[in-house]
């Protein structure tokens, strides 16, 4: 029997484990990957201060700190099921079964794929896969690549690939289909990009995006957007071209691309081929919440948080006793926010075990999440705050209803 089990050794899970161990409790962390760090492992970018944020170093630091504090971390361990019996959780893994009263789900996020013709050819991968190959395994996914899907994740990873000496020929949209959703709509994509324009090294882009406050300006922006794209880190970002298909005999050889109207419709006769030896497809990230669903958490679809999230409160408690959540499972945000959420979850669990000794710490650490969120360099969704507010309303409604049931 373990006192506390954390599922996921990313920034949220490790920060929670450190918080718990620092306050004298034993904790076990499980993760299916061979290294601790989760999605943090792949990150590499320069902050406005000039410091480089290196995910591998950050992950190692968290891991070392946790180990020194006596945290038990089991890697290469996949949790495939969990259930509650006689007031305790049974955690089934491919490395044995564990029992505990307190579980923190810090399972992070997964990448949303979409299909375009030719996507099953070898050499097509998710942008996150290209990131892990390059930054974690130090293997180039190819020499010349094309990224299909323009979003915060893909523009950040494109820059990382470029740093590793891989030629990213362009970042472009997929053709609009029932599968690619908003990813194929130039206006939607432009909207989502405007709030990261401060990251653009080009003064032109920074200035341009300040002008695009209203919808009319945005539409004009799309209409006049250069067909060959605007360059960021020397990579053309094309909002007026879309990939129609990925071609190749047995492996990727290139993509067929065409000009699209501001509404995303293909302009006939503009098709051309661009050669490449790998192609990345990306529809952004969504919260990975399979275990929360199996455990029985109610879910809400909140666009601003990146998809379906399990109902939870500010203290990172779910509606089920002994079940907590932290990190990207609660909504897509950066690693620093995930860490501060991990701290809150850690204190909440401690508070539960040690009878309310940590109320002040919880309150303080909740405020720190907000500060971290407000000063975050990368915001995955411009209205995260609004999404969190929606979730809070759902929580209040849910608890209200539950109380009514109890009174009856």
């Amino acid at each position: 029997m373990n006192k506390i089990i954390i599922i996921g050794a990313g920034p949220a899970g490790l920060s929670a484990a450190i918080t718990i161990a620092q306050n004298g409790e034993e904790v076990l962390v499980l993760d299916e990957y061979m290294l601790a760090g989760g999605r943090l492992l792949g990150q590499l970018y320069e902050e406005p201060t000039g410091n480089w944020w290196n995910g591998i170093t950050e992950s190692e630091n968290l891991y070392e700190k946790a180990i020194q504090l006596g945290v038990d971390i089991q890697l290469n361990t996949s949790v495939y099921d969990m259930e509650k019996q006689n007031n305790q959780w049974i955690i089934y893994t491919d490395n044995g079964t564990y029992f505990t009263k307190n579980v923190l789900l810090a399972t992070g996020a997964a990448e949303q794929p979409f299909a375009i013709p030719g996507w099953t050819l070898p050499g097509v991968m998710s942008v996150g896969a290209a990131q892990v190959m390059t930054n974690v395994h130090r293997v180039k996914p190819g020499k010349r690549g094309i990224i299909v899907g323009v979003n915060v994740l893909s523009s950040a990873i494109a820059m990382e690939l470029q740093l590793a000496g891989i030629h990213v020929k362009c970042i472009t949209l997929p053709k609009k289909t029932k599968l690619a959703k908003e990813s194929g709509d130039p206006l939607e994509v432009m909207n989502s990009l405007l709030h990261v324009s401060h990251m653009a090294p080009s003064k032109f882009v920074q200035l341009g995006s300040k002008l695009m406050k209203n919808d009319l300006m945005k539409k004009m922006g799309i209409s006049f957007y250069p067909k060959n794209g605007i360059k960021m880190w020397d990579i053309p970002i094309m909002l007026r071209k879309a990939v129609i298909e990925i071609y190749g005999d047995k492996v990727v050889e290139g993509v067929k691309i065409a000009t699209i109207t501001p509404d995303g419709e293909v302009v006939k006769g503009t098709e051309e081929n661009i050669s490449a030896d790998f192609v990345c497809i990306t529809g952004g990230l969504y919260p990975l919440a399979e275990l929360a669903a199996i455990a029985g958490c109610p879910f809400y679809h909140i666009e601003e948080l990146g998809g379906h999230v399990p109902l939870h409160n500010e203290k990172m408690e779910t509606t089920i006793e002994g079940l907590y959540v932290a990190g990207n499972i609660t909504g897509i945000e950066g690693a620093k926010v995930a860490m501060s959420q991990g701290v809150v979850a850690g204190f909440s669990i401690l508070n539960h075990i040690q009878d309310g000794k940590f109320n002040n710490d919880i309150e303080k650490s909740i405020k720190e999440i907000e500060q971290t969120r407000n000063s975050a360099y990368i915001q995955f969704h411009p209205n995260v705050e609004e999404g969190k507010h929606k979730l809070k309303k759902h929580w209040e409604n849910y608890i209200g209803k539950e109380l009514c049931k109890m009174v009856k």
Binding site: S78, D81, T97, P117, L179, E290
Partner: protein
């Protein structure tokens, strides 16, 4: 759009199959899954799940009533021996 484009790689279900089925039966994502076997293969729908949902979203007008596909254990591929609890000595 290439109609023979595969959406569910494990069960080799095409885009065309899915859209036609969703259109014909005006069905939920669960029904679409059961009718076509999309998402029922080895990977447990970990790749095509969101695409099945978005096809249903686009084909079905009653969007608000859309119930997403359920998650069921095992959520990761594992050996039968382990599933049978051979290692559970506690």
């Amino acid at each position: 759009m290439d109609c023979s484009m595969i959406v569910c790689r494990c069960e080799e279900v095409t885009y065309d199959d899915l859209v036609k089925t969703a259109n014909k039966y005006k069905c939920s994502s669960r029904e679409l899954k059961l009718r076509t076997r999309a998402g029922m293969g080895y990977c447990g729908g970990r790749t095509c799940r969101s695409m099945i949902e978005s096809i249903v979203d686009k084909e079905n007008e009653k969007k608000d009533e859309h119930v997403p596909l359920k998650y069921q254990a095992p959520i990761r591929p594992i050996h039968f021996g382990k599933l049978g609890g051979m290692n559970n000595d506690e």
